[in-house]
């Protein structure tokens, strides 16, 4: 494991030397994205909600909430509660 971590660190160091440090705006985008995702997850801790409900609770744009939800559903953190009209509801996947 130590060897593996050392190899990864060496590769990343070589990459930083070759390409320069990671772009600041990229890091900022990533931080912002993570924080918005956390807001969405926090809003859902109290129970299932629709996108407009999450948007109103978090202050995020509904469009942005949909994108965050899409990622969280794809990677198994949220599940969809089906609906025929109006808005779907989303809830946090309970860890087994």
């Amino acid at each position: 494991m130590e060897d593996k971590n050392k190899k990864i660190s060496e590769q990343l160091k070589a990459l930083n030397e070759k390409k320069g440090p990671v772009n600041k705006s990229l890091l900022e985008y990533h931080r912002e994205n993570t924080s918005k995702q956390k807001k969405v997850l926090d809003a859902l801790k109290e129970g299932e909600k629709t996108i407009p409900e999450i948007a109103s609770l978090t202050g995020l744009d509904a469009r942005e909430v949909l994108v965050k939800i899409a990622g969280l559903v794809k990677y198994g953190k949220l599940e969809i509660i089906p609906a025929k009209t109006g808005y779907l509801k989303y809830k946090i996947v309970e860890k087994k």
């Binding site: 990864i8 590769q11 890091l27 990533h30 996108i51 939800i69 794809k74």
Partner: protein
């Protein structure tokens, strides 16, 4: 750049959509060696991203995946994915192609496609496979049934946290991987580079791609696909299940002003197909198709159109003059009904799909001196009798690279291109 490698084959096929795969399988089955080059990380082309096909409503993925598996496992077909063709030159004994294999930053021979790298990656990005509607990670396998199942690291978006490498059980993340130069010597070449759709901002009066609930036909395909980005058809502005959906026909074809005066031949049928699928998945929604005329010739298309009418799809013969939105991002269409005495009117919909046309995927074809028609598609000197010929000995064309066509015609033409290539391989004096 890493070291150079050299390969030989009977036929080099550029593109691995349904046309490229069909031609590769036909030539491989006839006992000749094929190299199929694909610029994307997976084979399958546009067809693998479609929901269903018309007029049978068969699942597109269920038809395409077996072809993808067959071509990738065929003993005489070698696929080279994530590889760009830089140049193809005609030589006395065939063709020589220069290819660049782009780095995935993953050692393919070691990768077991476990997706642990993707799970560990903390960076979420817009997913191009979902045409911008969905989300992927900075290292990800392009889509569920991609072939090959290797992840690709987006080096421009990677924050170099090392998470993917730390969880990889096979230690196959290589952040320093370089592009590889490949030379292919081929006796014949088939161009099967497919198409792009007319850009969303092609018509200024249709919102210039700034209206969030006006989507492209390919985005609509993804919304309708079983593993689509939202798990259901939702409008992008707020995730609402749309109550009212409209299709605007000829939104990127039959229009001299945008340089696409020709009919793209598939838009009427894909719009009808999507409308029928929507009516199945959203039975309470109202679906309207604004059209100039419906072109539904052959293959059961007319019956398909009549079936859609019987299902309750609204067909409105009208020109859409302008598209705008209100403060809630509802889409407003200004329409001119093609009926005597009717006045322009404004109608509102939750979601609007532009039925865009098909345009060539490239402006030039790898430096080959191939003749193009006035719209940029490869021109055959014998369109009526041998549509796969290009005017260059040993070079053939298949699929939409030679002009808009539907999937059955594409598959037939791919078979024709394979047959022309086989004839050429058997009769031409090439070593």
């Amino acid at each position: 750049m890493n070291g150079k490698t050299e390969h030989n084959c009977d036929t080099l096929i550029v593109g691995s959509g349904i046309a490229g795969m069909q031609a590769a399988l036909d030539i491989g089955d006839a006992g000749f060696n094929v190299i199929m080059v694909e610029k994307s990380p997976s084979i399958g082309g546009k067809m693998i991203s479609l929901s269903k096909v018309f007029p049978t409503l068969d699942c597109a993925s269920c038809i395409t995946t077996p072809k993808m598996a067959a071509s990738s496992h065929h003993p005489r077909v070698q696929m080279m994915t994530y590889t760009e063709v830089k140049n193809i030159s005609k030589k006395a004994d065939g063709f020589e192609a220069l290819l660049i294999k782009k780095p995935r930053f993953v050692i393919e021979s070691e990768c077991i496609s476990c997706r642990k790298c993707e799970e560990a990656c903390p960076v979420y990005l817009e997913d191009e496979f979902e045409y911008g509607l969905g989300v992927k990670k900075a290292i990800s396998i392009p889509f569920t049934n991609a072939i090959p199942q290797f992840p690709v690291l987006d080096e421009e978006k990677c924050i170099r946290c090392g998470a993917c490498a730390r969880v990889c059980p096979k230690d196959c993340i290589d952040y320093l991987q370089k592009p590889e130069e490949i030379t292919v010597k081929a006796k014949s070449v088939i161009i099967a580079t497919g198409y792009e759709i007319t850009p969303m901002d092609a018509k200024k009066e249709y919102g210039e791609n700034k209206l969030i609930n006006v989507i492209s036909s390919l985005q609509a395909e993804r919304l309708l696909a079983p593993h689509g980005p939202y798990g259901k058809v939702l409008r992008p502005s707020d995730g609402k299940i749309p109550d009212s959906i409209a299709y605007v026909q000829c939104a990127g074809s039959r229009d001299e002003s945008i340089g696409v005066p020709y009919c793209s031949r598939v838009c009427c049928m894909y719009a009808i197909k999507q409308a029928m699928l929507l009516s199945g998945s959203l039975p309470l929604s109202e679906i309207t198709i604004y059209y100039m005329d419906i072109r539904a010739f052959g293959k059961g298309y007319e019956q398909f159109y009549n079936q859609a009418r019987a299902m309750g799809i609204n067909f409105v013969k009208a020109k859409v003059a302008k598209i705008s939105e209100d403060s809630q991002h509802n889409v407003i269409l200004r329409i001119d009904r093609q009926e005597e005495g009717s006045k322009p009117q404004e109608v509102k919909h939750d979601l609007v799909v532009l039925s865009q046309g098909l345009i060539p995927s490239r402006k030039e074809f790898f430096g080959l001196d191939v003749k193009l028609n006035e719209y940029g598609f490869i021109d055959s000197p014998a369109k009526t009798f041998s549509p796969a010929l290009t005017g260059i000995d040993g070079l053939f064309v298949a699929g939409v690279a030679s002009g808009p066509k539907d999937i059955p015609d594409t598959i037939m033409e791919a078979g024709s291109a394979a047959m022309e290539a086989l004839n050429y391989l058997k009769t031409a004096k090439i070593s």
